[in-house]
Symmetry: C2
Subunit: 430 residues, 2 copies
């Protein structure tokens, strides 16, 4: 039967296709209460009745996972990771079992599987496990029996200890994409509370457009720079295995946004796919350290060892030979970083360390950027015209990011989106 | 390793003993919130530090299971049994994982297992599965690693389909007793919100005494006739495998009540172990049916086929040759019985069918009754003196039960307990 080794076999050809199969993933807000679960059940039945084979991956209902985490912290200051996974994995079992019941009431056969029963085999890294293999025998059997298959997202079973593992936040996206890859599905549909991927957050930019298509690379950059529509890792897995993704609304009709290879997307005039923003990071500056080799390496090695994720980095050297290092990190990592920064500051003889939580990052993303020089300059120009100061800049081949003051982020997104609106338009008419 | 086949191997000698092992079971009210869970964790650690090997079985927290059942009925009129088990089994996973975390915080190693991980193998009867085998390898390994082992009660895994099953209400008691049998534990302790088994409900009879010891047979009769301290099936399993049981309070010290073989219990003067009562049954009379062979058989065969549990039965024949059949059944079974009774009434030409929900059953239980004739007569006499009319009588070798009016049950219990108080006393000093 179908067995994909996710580390060992990177090729898409490694697995058989299951024609007519669609994997449909529904997030927590899509299954927030029993009424919404019943609507999801109807949607799955409609897909089955339209002729598709259906595998669905449901997240936990609404705030269930948060509530379980709250309980964990009531009984333990540092919940044991194995037991934490045992605990929080129950939320998805509840929502998937309930949806299977609702499907039965609609006159269709359905079966819900835990991650373990679905054959989602992971490494043993509790709370952040990686899928290493999908053993899809039970799913294939259930599909052959004409059942709608529901799989508890976000979880698996450790290949070494046979313990329950979880994949970390956003893990249900990864479950869905991994299943779509292993089963050879026609597509993996990510149902959410917005109709697709937008050129900017419509709450900030009312003229933001829904994109018909984006490339994997663009979606990766958008997710990494603040777009919340899909979890970053799941997009990486989709790209590796060539899984066609589609983001669409749970409770409205509509084509949504397709995410695929660059060849599939009309790129000629469509330089830009969108403007994203992120207010979840803080800025730290270590000021007045000696300008000698190895200082930056020491700083970032110590932080990495503690598991702190560093995003943007700038190093300046002043005329008197003292250097300063500035970087951004998730605000949630600041408590972990604090003691390391204090001892680093003393050890390196820094004159002072500045913390600044009031920053925002705005990013312009577009695969067409590679062949269109001048995009970054246009972006800086648009920000300057709006009177917005840029504090840090970082770029990739298809992304330009700028750190600005947090209270200017909405104006910044609006200004950059206005400047590039015409370029994004081409992507929508498709 | 230890594998007990519960259907096939009835002998106690079939398994190895694990000296120093105690199985400790905590019900829903004992783990009602995170504070109580932390107190249970302390109790388990105390037992471990006192030198015992500890396997604990926790029920779901307080009203968790009721809440899950409510959700099931919100999405489905008749929840699919397989999915129902998938759903309601999550409650015990939550409480056991949380308790394991709390134990880690107290500096001890602990591991929580699902029913499946613990090797609780059942038949495939969803919502009322029976344990057929315990494959205790993972538990033995964890005990050898000096861990406190927690097992989610009330659940197992189907031997044929590998689906999650549940054992029905009270199933956590059965999980605990089956584990104690399979592991060869020194004892199985049932922790609850009362200090032990009483000669009558202390809320009704303030002078009721806590018993130090009762026999399996007495405990079976007491549970079957209204005592709620342990689930009936778990006592049957304990008796079959010779598991020493002890009922005690979760949140108070005290010896509790030991339940074991008759030989272990001082019976000379201790004729009576207690008075129980039960207001959960209703009475039905089918009046004016022909007095010919096969009528009663037909009535009870039809009701049994529908899954209705009949308790007490009386048949009378009047002088004109017409018979009437009276029986009691759980009030919850009345809606199932109604249509069968209506068609039986028509088919048998009964003159009428009477339903009476306002009854109560009071029972007097004692292993010593077998060698002390006259106990039943004394009980009837006590009720008559109190002016209480007896509607139905049924007896076993160690029990006498009488149906009385529901509004007289408290006076009836008090009157019978008063009459036999002296006989029960001997059981307490033991």
């Amino acid at each position: 039967m179908t067995t994909i080794h996710f580390e060992a076999v990177p090729a898409v050809e490694a697995h058989r296709r299951t024609p007519g199969l669609v994997v449909m993933k529904f997030g927590g807000t899509s299954v927030g209460d029993t009424d919404k679960l019943k609507r999801v059940a109807k949607r799955l039945v409609a897909a089955r009745e339209a002729g598709s084979k259906v595998v669905a991956v449901l997240s936990a209902m609404g705030k269930t996972t948060d509530e379980l985490i709250r309980l964990a912290h009531e009984v333990s200051e540092q919940p044991h990771p194995r037991e934490y996974d045992m605990l929080v994995s129950t939320g998805e079992r509840i929502s998937n079992a309930l949806c299977a019941m609702a499907i039965h009431d609609l006159g269709h056969e359905a079966v819900s599987f835990t991650g373990s029963q679905a054959g989602i085999v992971t490494d043993g890294s509790h709370t952040k496990a990686k899928i290493v293999e999908v053993r899809a025998q039970r799913i294939h059997t259930a599909l052959e029996e004409d059942k709608i298959v529901l799989v508890a997202g976000f979880q698996g079973v450790s290949t070494s200890t046979h313990d329950v593992t979880t994949l970390g936040r956003g893990g249900s996206d990864t479950t869905a994409v991994a299943l779509a890859a292993a089963l050879g599905a026609d597509a993996c549909e990510i149902f959410t509370d917005v109709p697709g991927v937008f050129t900017a957050d419509p709450r900030i930019v009312p003229t933001a457009l829904k994109l018909d298509r984006v490339t994997y690379e663009e979606m990766l950059e958008m997710s990494a720079s603040g777009a919340k529509v899909m979890a970053l890792r799941s997009i990486e897995v989709a790209r590796s295995y060539g899984v066609k993704l589609r983001v669409r609304s749970t409770f409205a009709e509509g084509e949504g946004t397709w995410i695929g290879e660059e060849d599939d997307v009309v790129l000629e005039k469509a330089i830009i796919s969108g403007v994203t923003h992120d207010t979840s990071e803080a800025k730290v500056s270590i000021i007045g350290v000696p300008d000698r080799p190895g200082i930056a390496a020491k700083v970032f090695r110590d932080l990495a060892r503690a598991g702190v994720n560093i995003d943007m980095i700038v190093q300046n050297v002043s005329q008197d030979g003292a250097a300063s290092i500035t970087f951004t990190l998730p605000k949630t990592d600041v408590p972990i970083a604090e003691p390391i920064l204090d001892s680093l500051g003393a050890e390196l003889g820094a004159s002072r360390i500045e913390r600044d939580p009031d920053i925002a990052k705005i990013s312009l993303i577009g695969a067409g950027m590679k062949s269109h020089p001048g995009v970054a300059a246009d972006m800086f120009d648009a920000l300057a015209e709006a009177g917005i100061n840029i504090e840090i800049i970082s770029t990739s081949s298809i992304r330009v990011s700028c750190v600005v003051r947090a209270d200017q982020v909405e104006r910044a997104v609006q200004a950059v989106h206005d400047r590039f609106q015409g370029f994004a338009q081409a992507r929508v008419d498709g």
